[in-house]
Each structure stands twice: as C-alpha cells, then as structure tokens.
C-alpha cells in the first residue's frame, strides 16, 4: 500500500511538474524550444547578482546571462534565474536544472575535470584578500600570526587560507561562518581580527560599513580566483556559444564598440574584425547554430564588458572596484578576447 501511494505521489507530482527536458544533448535546441535560458546565479552577492524590490535581477554575473539570452533567443529578458548555493551549484548544472552557471565560480583543475564541467572563460579575475580594522595596526598579512580570522566554510577560500598560513609558517584561529551576512556581523562585533574572502567581496563589504575608512584591505592577495561561467561537459557547441558571447563582450570593449554606437558601427565600421563580429560581412553565427547578428544583440543587451563592469561593480558604483587585472590587455590587464576570424 505504502509503495503504491508513494508511486502515486511521484506519478502525480511528475505530471504536475511536466516531464522535464533532457539534461544533456543539444542544449541550444533545448533552450530555443523552451524560449527561455535557465541561468544559475548566486542567491545574492552584492554587485554580481541580486534581485531588487521588484524581483528584477541585476549584477555583473547576471549581465552575462542576459547577453547569452540575447545572442541565442534575441531577447535579454528571456532568462529564468535559478539561485544556486555553493553546495548545489555543480549538481544543479550537471543534472540539467540550469543551462549555464554564471555564479562566481573559481576555475580549478578538479572542477574542470573531475566534476565533468567546463569553464567557458573568465569574466572576472579575483583573488583572496584580508580586511582588518585600522585600529589593529596591521599593514601586511604577514603580521597576522596568531590572529583570529573569519572565513566562510565550504569554499576554496578556506583551503587557500590554510595553505597560506602553513606556507608562511604562521598560526591562526579560524572562525567559521556560514554566509557573508554572518561574517560581517561577526567581524563588526570584533569576533575576529581579520575577515578573508574574495577581494571583490571585501570591497563591497567595506563600502557598506557605517565608517569604511576605519577598515583597510591588506595588499596581499593570497590566491588566484579566476571566476567564470560554466557549462556541462560534452555539449561543445553550447560551450562555444557561452565562450564566444563572453569574448564578444570583451572584444567589443577593446574595439570601442558600445551599446550606444553599435548600430552605427555595425554599418560603418572599417575594422574588419568588428565587421566579422557584428555580422556585417561574415556569418560567424552560423558556425555555432546562431544567426548573423548574435554578437550585436549580446552587446546591446547590457553594453560591452567595460560598460557592464562600470554599471555593476565599477568605480562609479558604491562598490567601487578598480579594473585592475580585469582591464583590457591593452591597458595592462588580463582581459584578452580571442580573435573573431
């Protein structure tokens, strides 16, 4: 009896849910037939992904989802944002709950190989840093021997911290915290001498303090955190679409294509690379199953890489992040789009 009821419940709920779509196979076709892109995002990270009072998502990671939706479906609003926690993000992607993950995930060897997922590129070069109150009188992470440090559990930052102190032959007392909110509360109450997380997160946290100038972010960056969008292993065409959408945004900044002048440039640009990218001359989109103007739409969705950066996390925003490593390679940064050819 029990099992039949259970089966009944499963069957009924399956019916209500509607048979889901295939987890693997042709993601592009799936997205097109659904008419909507399922994009895995952070449930809430200042500047990168957060919903406002009306439930509209904005942020640096969200902009990439919009660009991909614009490229594939022709409409940047056709995105369903699926918030995924640190623990559920990879299984969510692997099981087909989302089509892509744009959720500040660090590109590491084991994630790329063992988890059977692919990184489509890097949209933000981050690194782990420390923030301390000025009153502590510390000016370098090397002086933190014996300190108590607030650290978010279950992330790579935890491993980096352990490695860093071990390598420098120092000791520390970890205060594990579950989420950024708890971390800030503990840090403000003085439960830890230093707070460590990605430098971008530290900057955002510091900016929101009542008196930001009483806290300093130490110069040491103790890890490499290349954050990028992820797709499932095996569907190479879909991976290409996400990768080249990202490159289109980056390249657009390099060649001075902005959301304001794109209409004009797509007609009048003399740069053959821009012509190819925007579909004025060649039809690059067809090579990955899209139309000619895919890149143009992607750029129009939220502007080029530089525009997105400036609008969500740049120096004009309260978060106030400098471009740093994320400047174009021509400006001494690491953002380097592969040639459109």
């Amino acid at each position: 009896m029990k099992t039949s009821v259970f089966l009944g419940v499963v069957a009924a709920s399956g019916l209500i849910a509607g048979a889901g779509l295939a987890a693997e196979g042709d993601t592009l076709a799936t997205v097109k037939s659904r008419g909507e892109l399922l994009c895995g995002v952070n449930p809430g990270l200042v500047g990168f992904a957060s919903p406002d009072a009306n439930g509209n998502w904005t942020g640096f990671d969200v902009a990439l989802c919009k660009a991909v939706a614009a490229a594939v479906l022709g409409d940047p609003t056709k995105v369903k944002y699926v918030p995924l926690t640190g623990q559920t993000r990879f299984t969510g992607l692997a099981s087909g709950e989302v089509d892509m993950l744009s959720r500040n995930s660090t590109w590491t060897f084991s994630r790329d190989t063992d988890l059977k997922l692919d990184f489509a590129g890097v949209n933000y070069y981050d690194g782990q840093g420390f923030m301390v109150p000025k009153s502590l009188g510390v000016s370098s992470a090397k002086e933190l021997d014996g300190a108590t440090i607030c650290i978010q559990t279950g992330t790579t930052t935890e491993l980096n911290l352990a490695d860093y102190f071990k390598a420098n032959n120092m000791s520390y007392q970890p205060v594990n915290i579950d989420s950024n909110a708890e971390g800030e509360q503990q840090y403000m109450a003085g439960a830890c001498d230093a707070y460590t997380t990605d430098a971008s997160g530290l900057a955002a946290t510091r900016a929101a303090f009542a008196n930001p100038d009483q806290h300093v972010i130490l110069p040491e960056i103790i890890s490499k955190e290349p954050l990028g969008p992820m797709v499932r292993h095996g569907d190479n065409n879909w991976g290409d679409i996400v990768r080249w959408t990202l490159y289109a945004l980056i390249a657009a900044e390099e060649y001075g294509v902005t959301s304001a002048n794109i209409e004009e440039l797509s007609k009048s640009s003399e740069n053959p690379e821009v012509q190819r990218m925007l579909g004025t001359t060649d039809d690059l989109g067809a090579m990955m199953g899209l139309d000619k103007e895919w890149a143009k739409r992607a750029i129009m969705a939220g502007g080029n890489y530089g525009e997105i950066f400036a609008a969500t996390i740049g120096e004009q925003t309260p978060i106030g992040l400098a471009r740093g490593l994320n400047a174009q390679w021509t400006q001494g940064g690491l953002m380097y789009a592969m040639p459109f050819r």
């Binding site: 009896m1 029990k2 039949s4 009821v5 259970f6 009944g8 419940v9 499963v10 069957a11 009924a12 709920s13 399956g14 019916l15 209500i16 849910a17 048979a19 889901g20 779509l21 295939a22 987890a23 952070n42 449930p43 809430g44 990270l45 200042v46 500047g47 992904a49 957060s50 919903p51 406002d52 009072a53 009306n54 439930g55 369903k80 699926v82 918030p83 995924l84 926690t85 623990q87 559920t88 299984t91 099981s95 087909g96 709950e97 989420s179 950024n180 909110a181 800030e184 509360q185 403000m188 955002a204 946290t205 900016a207 929101a208 303090f209 009542a210 925003t317 309260p318 978060i319």
Partner: protein, 485 residues
C-alpha cells in the same frame, strides 16, 4: 435548663451576628495579592527579584533599539543618518525601513505583484476548507474562526492592494461559508475535498482543467471501485488504482487540453521558482501535512498490521526517516534526487522539497497516529469484530475516526514543527523568509549589512502563526479530555 426560661442570660451564646471585619491589611487588595503571589516566603521573594531583574535587563537592552526605529528610509546609510540626526551620534536604533520596502518579498517572494490576490485568496479559502475539519466540535468556535479568518484575509488583501473584485468575491465566499457553516456544516466538507485542486490552480495558475482532470482520475477510480465492489470485492482496490494510473498517464492531459480548447479557464502561470517568503513556507508546510496525513495513516496501520512483511517495511521506513535529520533529506532532495530519477527527468526543486518534507512528516505522523490507535480501548476493536465488520470497514467506521480525533493535538504539533522546519530549505538555496529572503535583501547594496531587523520581523510572524496553532491544539486537548471523561 429549661428552654422556656428566657430570663437566664446565656452570656456565651451570641444573639446577634457580628459585622464581618475587614480582612487584615496583609491579605487584602494589591498588598495582599503581592504577599500571596510574589513574596509568600523567602524563596518566592528571591524568584520575584530575579524575575524583575531579568525583565529589566531585557527592557533596558532592547527598548532603546526599538524606540529609535526608523520606518522610512531608502537605505541603511540613510537610516543611520536619520538615527544619528534624531537621537544623537552613537545612538543605536532599528532600521525597519527595510521591512517597509521589502515586506512583500518576505511574504510572497518573487510572486508577480499583480497576482497577489491569488495567494491571499488561497490562504483565505484555507480557513473555509479547514473549518469543517478542525473546528467541527463547536459551532461557536467555527463561527469565530471563519469570521476571524475572513477579517485576516481582508486585512491582507487591503495591505497587498488586490483588485477590488477579488476582495468582493472573497467577502462573498466568506459570507456563503458562514451561512453554510450555520445551516449545513456537512456541505462545507465538499469544499474541503475540492480545496487542494483549487488551491493548486490559484497558486500555480495555468489551465484549471489539468488539476480538475487529476481529481477526475480519483473520481474515476472511485467509480470503478464501486462498480466492482459487488462482483469482485478483492480486486476492486487494485482495479481502482490501475484506473487512476491509466487516467493520469494517458487520458487526463489530452482531455484537459481539449476542454481548455472549448473553455479556456486559465490564470497566468507562475513557476515554483517564483514562490518565496512565508508563501513558500506555508505552501511547503500545508501541502506536506495534507499529503503526509494519508501516508501517515497507511504507515501507522501497516506498523500495527499482523502481516510480518508489511510491518517490517513500515518499521524500517519510519525508523529510517525519523533517524536522520531533515536537513540531510533536503540535501538528498537538492543534490541526489536527480540521480535517483530516470535520466532526463528534471523535477521542480520545490516539488522535490515537498516530497521529502512529506515523507519526513509522514514518518512522524505515523507515530502520532499509532499513539492514537494504541490509546483506543481494546473493546472498540472487539466490538467492531463482533459486528462482523471486515478490517477496512472496522478501520473506516470505528477505529480511525476515534483514533484520529485523539491524535489531532499531536497532528497539530507535528504541523507546527514542520512549519518551523521549513526555514531549513533556505540552506539549500530556496527563498524561505528567514535566511533565503534576508540574504538576498542584504545582497542589495542599499541594505547590505542589515542584520537584526529581518530576524525580528520574521520571528514575530512565525511566533504569531505557531502560537495560534498551539493554542488551538491546547483548546482541543482540553475539549477532548472533557468529552472522554
């Protein structure tokens, strides 16, 4: 001594009543009450002083914070400026402006704002659906619950700014329900039966026909069972189950589509992902409890069955589920359930959570109902047997009605526990009010760093809901114990 001799003065016999003397000062009035209840001996005095100290500590620490609350500001920074400007630099104060700006997300998550009338109406109708079940014992209480529920729904509707017609409709429905409850309370039960379908349709939207067809499947199964009951009573339940399965699998969808073509009764479709806040907690809690109740009854009966295999399965299932924390089951729902399903199935996460919560609650429910079954005197079973009733008849007509009645307080207790446990779904990334909504509100730069206010707000709502439910169960317990005397 003669009786007639009245001349001898009997000085020791009082001839007139003394006027009652006033009670001594220590026993009278406020002072007497104080002495009696607060300072009757040294231990009591110590307790009283301790109690006052505790109250003082709480008030002195938390009152200024409350007193200095700011209700209208655009961001935490503005709040801080207002507090500093009004009560001086360094004053601490609450910034409830965040609640004022985000309250709708705490209540409904990302549910489309124009459609708020639907969840509110669903909740309002729930009172009507529950009235004949939970408040069947007393007409007065039923009246009060219906009126109170109606008032609450109307207030909610006013706060949410729903369209006028929906408020009117709701008011009319409550009126009808009140009348029905007065004159034909039995009829209201039909509404209770239809309520799940109606609720699902109102909340998720889409075509009304799909949920109707699910219900029609059950009806078809029932009809088949009735038809076969005479000819092949043993086969009837199996035939019914097979009919329902066939109906759901092959008939209901095409039929629903066809009917939708004829008469498109449909609402804007809202996906589960858009549910959040207390709406999510209530949806998970209520659907979990309604589905776990039948499952729990079956499990409880199975555990008391004399068929060894059935009993073993029931015991294994119940003990396994009760032995692991809910959070681990939720992790199974969020990470492992997809592995257990055929490749390509992609379950809605809320549905997965509801299934897990149902299974979890069913195990607890089974134990509660088993307690109720065990509490019935043996004579009831024997009486049923002596009437020649078979097992299911005896359960349906004699045992379960009584056992369930005794178990209602326990069932309500399980429900309160489950409702509180819905906060755990935040740990797997759903937008429950406590952490889910609060964390994303904090991800808005304006409200980054806000910590206590959301907790206070959410805590108060949880308290109000759970406290009223526990009062109800206490009332019922008293009432039942009086009846059984």
């Amino acid at each position: 001594m003669s009786v007639t001799d009245t001349t001898v003065p009997t000085a020791y016999v009082r001839t007139e009543m003394l006027p009652p003397r006033a009670a001594p000062m220590q026993r009278k009035g406020a002072l007497g009450w104080l002495r009696e209840n607060l300072f009757s001996n040294w231990f009591n005095t110590v307790l009283t002083v301790l109690g006052i100290a505790i109250i003082w500590w709480f008030v002195s620490h938390f009152w200024p914070w409350f007193a200095h609350s700011v209700w209208s500001a655009g961001s935490l920074r503005e709040c801080r400026e207002i507090i500093a400007a009004t009560w001086g630099e360094g004053a601490s104060g609450a910034c409830f402006a965040v609640i004022r700006e985000r309250w709708h997300q705490y209540l409904f998550g990302f549910y489309p704002r124009a459609e708020y009338w639907r969840p509110v109406m669903t909740i309002g109708l729930m009172f009507i659906a529950l009235a004949p079940v939970l408040f069947s014992v007393s007409a007065t209480i039923r009246r009060r619950v219906l009126a109170g529920g109606g008032l609450l729904t109307m207030i909610l509707m006013a706060i949410c700014g729903v369209p006028l017609w929906s408020a009117m409709l709701m008011l009319a429905l409550f009126g009808v329900a009140l009348l029905l409850a007065e004159y034909a309370p039995g009829r209201l039960l039909w509404f209770t039966v239809f309520y799940p379908v109606l609720g699902v349709w109102l909340l998720w939207g889409g075509s009304l026909w799909s949920p109707m067809m699910v219900l029609a499947g059950l009806a078809a199964g029932f009809v088949v069972a009735r038809l076969l009951a005479k000819r092949a009573p043993g086969l009837a339940p199996f035939a019914a189950i097979i009919t329902i399965a066939i109906w759901w699998a092959f008939i209901s969808q095409p039929l629903a589509d066809a009917l939708a073509g004829v008469l498109p009764l449909s609402l804007l479709h809202v996906t589960s992902r858009e549910f959040g806040g207390f709406l999510l907690a209530i949806v998970i809690g209520v659907s979990g409890i309604t589905m776990s109740l039948p499952l729990g009854i079956v499990l409880a009966l199975a555990r008391r069955s004399d068929m060894p295999l059935i009993k073993t399965f029931a015991v294994m299932f119940i003990e396994f589920i009760r032995g692991v924390p809910l959070i681990s089951l939720l992790f199974v729902a969020s990470t492992l359930l997809n592995y257990f399903m055929p490749p390509g199935t992609n379950f809605d996460i809320i549905l997965r959570v509801i299934i897990m919560v149902t299974i979890f609650a069913a195990a607890y429910m089974a134990e509660v109902i088993r307690g109720g079954l065990a509490a019935l005197p043996k004579g009831q079973y024997e009486a049923a047997d002596s009437l020649g009733l078979d097992y299911w008849q005896a359960q349906r007509l004699i045992i379960l009605p009584q056992a369930l009645k005794i178990s209602i307080p326990g069932i309500v207790g399980t429900f309160i526990g489950m409702f509180k446990d819905t906060t755990l779904v935040g740990l797997i990334g759903l937008y429950e009010p406590l952490k889910g909504i609060s964390d994303f509100v904090r991800a808005d730069f304006n409200w980054k760093g806000i910590y206590w206010e959301p907790f206070v707000f959410v805590g108060v709502i949880f308290f109000v809901i759970c406290f009223s439910m526990s009062r109800y169960s206490m009332y019922l317990e008293r009432r039942l114990s009086r009846e059984n005397r």
